[in-house]
């Protein structure tokens, strides 16, 4: 079972790549799902909107599998609820 955040991330990936959700697991690599650099920035744009977070540019290259994205989002969401101002602006 995926938690709510994971479900949202998987939905966003399915929407960006126009692929069925069933193709995507937490262990799927973004590269294996056919992600190029534009798909990556489009996914982050969608996630920033949905979760009201700001993903630093430096975090992008480290995102290899779907789980990395889910965990990154969880960290930023937790951080934003601890320090509301920190979600504005970015690095």
């Amino acid at each position: 079972m995926m938690d709510e955040n994971s479900e949202k991330v998987v939905s966003a990936i399915a929407s960006v790549k126009h692929i069925p959700r069933e193709m995507i697991s937490l262990d799927s690599s973004l590269e294996g799902l056919g992600f190029d650099s534009l798909d990556r920035i489009t996914l982050l744009f969608e996630l920033e909107k949905q979760f009201n977070i700001s993903v630093p540019d430096d975090a992008v290259p480290a995102l290899r599998v779907v789980r990395d994205v889910v965990e990154g989002v969880a960290r930023l969401v937790a951080n934003a609820s601890l320090h509301p101002a920190a979600s504005e602006g970015g690095p």
């Binding site: 650099s37 534009l38 920035i41 630093p56």
Partner: protein, 406 residues
Amino acid sequence: MSKRRVAITGLGVICALGSHTAAVWDSLRAGRCGIARMDSVDLSKLRFQNGAQVHGYDAGKHFEPKQADLLDRFAQFALIAAREALRDSGITLGAGLREQTAIVTGSCMGGQSTQDTAFVELYQRDLGRVHPLSIPRTMASAAASQISMELGATGPAYTISTACASSSHAIGQAFWMIRQGAAEIAIAGGSEAPFSMGLLKAWEAMRIISPDTCRPFSKDRRGLILGEGGAMLVLEPLDAARARGARIYAELAGFGMSSDAHHITQPSVDGPVRAMRAALRDAGLLPEQVGYINAHGTGTPANDSIETLAIRAAFGAHAGRLAVSSTKSLHGHALGAAGALEAVCTALAIREGLIPPTANFNAPDPECDLDVVPNLARPAHVECALSNSFAFGGLNAVLAFRAHPN
């Protein structure tokens, strides 16, 4: 009929390094970087803070209010550069010459700051109307029109938009027109003014803007820095330039183009290789004759390593003997104006015998293992040089220059 040779006899430029050619050359020579905190936008709304803006720019010093009303900032920069270039060439456009004078400009975005303002008024302030001069200010060809009107040039005039290669394509097309006899004078180059919030946010979302500065070919490079400005070259047949005793900065010797047919943003090796080879072929040059390349050198991790591979593929063993610098480290990436700014840098490097450096260089990168002229300008006699422009979407343009003994 043999092809005519083409001379560069006038230069005009305004950018973060200065508002005329001599000031810009002083900065290039000293390796003085024009990148600073942006001052025209609300930085609290942006992830990045730095840009290469024209410092202390005052449109009122260059234009009467009535003329300025019609000019977006990008067209102002084009006009300022065109005026200086023509003045610098010593040419007077008399009645006979006007209709043989071509204007070819490049711009990636056109008058988008005018559009930005209009849309703020429409969507944010709900004014329900847009300024009636928005269209004539915004259109990308406004710069070509405004230059031709002010100078009375009635020959071929048009604008090329190929993203970050726009003004290299423009100069190349103008060069070919002179060479083929389709024009006797050409004013060619480009301009850009990308510092408005809508466009900056769009670049921010691309995640390729450096958080600090532009460090092409350096191991710790983190992206490009946007720049603004305009640059224009006056081109004419070499024989005509000699006959009138003109100062000749360099000969524009060749132009090569290609398309990657690969990806809308990712660079490739093959397309740039073919464009460099095409420029050399067009100029009748051997790779071994080239001493300097003004690189596209954006400072993004991908561009600089791919460009290194392309230069190695195009030049073979001679790549190790080339000086390769990116002046974007000094004047920023001025998008559609970049190729023209760099053509000015290249012509001056040949004329002055001094190669401008790659500034802000900290550490060598094994993936960028060329002589990138780090941080300090280098005296050198350059017989032949290339200027590379490799745009988003894989549209490549390379200009080849040859020294001319004055």
